[in-house]
């Protein structure tokens, strides 16, 4: 059988003729499949001086997949208090005092690198992550 599977269209669309972007689901296309999710908080030491290097801390999350997986992470910012969670580092004054998080994966772990650009004291940064089965290859 060369043409089989499941398709589900959005309301009001004929599943037999709907274009791919009008489908809620199609087994023809891969989907993002969550392996694990989690959240937490990490105290990050103060920056060493005003406009100086940020304090840093790294949260390491083992995923045991054996390949480099797609992952998405959000964390809080210490400066932009209206932005509760952001996926990106805030590159203030070059990157001398970045704030927030940078994220990386390898075949063993997800690394959540956290930055505190505040020289007045340690700050707590909150994070949330999803690790997917989808391989970066």
């Amino acid at each position: 059988m060369s043409d089989y599977g499941i398709k589900i269209s959005k309301p009001g669309e004929d599943v037999k003729s709907a274009s791919k972007e009008k489908l809620v689901f199609s087994s023809q296309y891969d989907t993002l499949k969550i392996k694990s999710s989690g959240s937490g908080s990490q105290s990050v030491p103060a920056a060493t001086a005003p406009w100086g290097p940020s304090g840093t801390a790294t949260v390491t999350v083992a995923h045991s997949l054996g390949w480099k997986p797609l992952a998405m992470v959000f964390c809080t910012s210490i400066w932009r208090t209206n932005d509760k969670f952001s996926p990106y580092a805030y590159k203030s004054i070059g990157a001398i005092s970045p704030d927030g998080g940078s994220y990386a994966v390898d075949a063993t772990n997800l690394y959540i690198h956290l930055y505190n650009g505040d020289p007045t004291g340690a700050r707590t940064i909150y994070y949330r992550y999803h690790i997917y089965y989808n391989e970066l290859a």
């Binding site: 499941i6 993002l32 992952a71 580092a89 590159k91 070059g94 390898d106 989808n134 290859a137």
Partner: protein, 138 residues
């Protein structure tokens, strides 16, 4: 027919009486669908401290005709890790960094690598992408 579709619940919960956050799949709600996934080399020029140096760009044609949602990772210069788009590879002198960033338009996924910091020889980065069928805007 007013009530039809597919629901799949997480282990241990009945699909007939659980809320959507406890379901693995529910056809009442859209799911992200991968259109194209792969990787590409990105040649990054030497950074000499001047504007326009230390950059590399690659366009990935997607053929969708609209700007799609996407997720990118980058293998930058110093580590075997893959960095999520717009993360900082700070494996250089303090205050210096490399980033990989991206955007999509109606034609391409545009992947960019930029260096900010101490002088750095040219190198080849690798961009990993997942282009999704779902539109970045409606």
């Amino acid at each position: 027919m007013t009530n039809y579709g597919i629901k799949v619940s997480k282990p241990g919960v009945a699909v007939t009486d659980t809320d959507v956050q406890y379901q693995v799949m529910n056809s009442e709600h859209n799911s992200l669908k991968v259109w194209k996934a792969g990787s590409t080399n990105i040649s990054v020029s030497a950074f000499t401290g001047f504007v326009g140096t230390g950059i590399g760009n690659v366009d990935i044609a997607h053929g969708l005709g609209y700007s799609p949602f996407f997720i990118c990772y980058f293998k930058l210069k110093h580590a075997s890790k893959l960095w999520f788009q717009d993360s900082l590879d700070t494996s250089m002198l303090v205050g210096n960094f490399i980033t990989g960033s991206a955007y999509s338009n109606d034609t391409n996924l545009h992947m960019h690598v930029g260096v900010n910091g101490n002088n750095l020889a040219a190198f080849t980065a690798v961009g990993y992408y997942q282009i999704l069928i779902d539109k970045a805007y409606e």
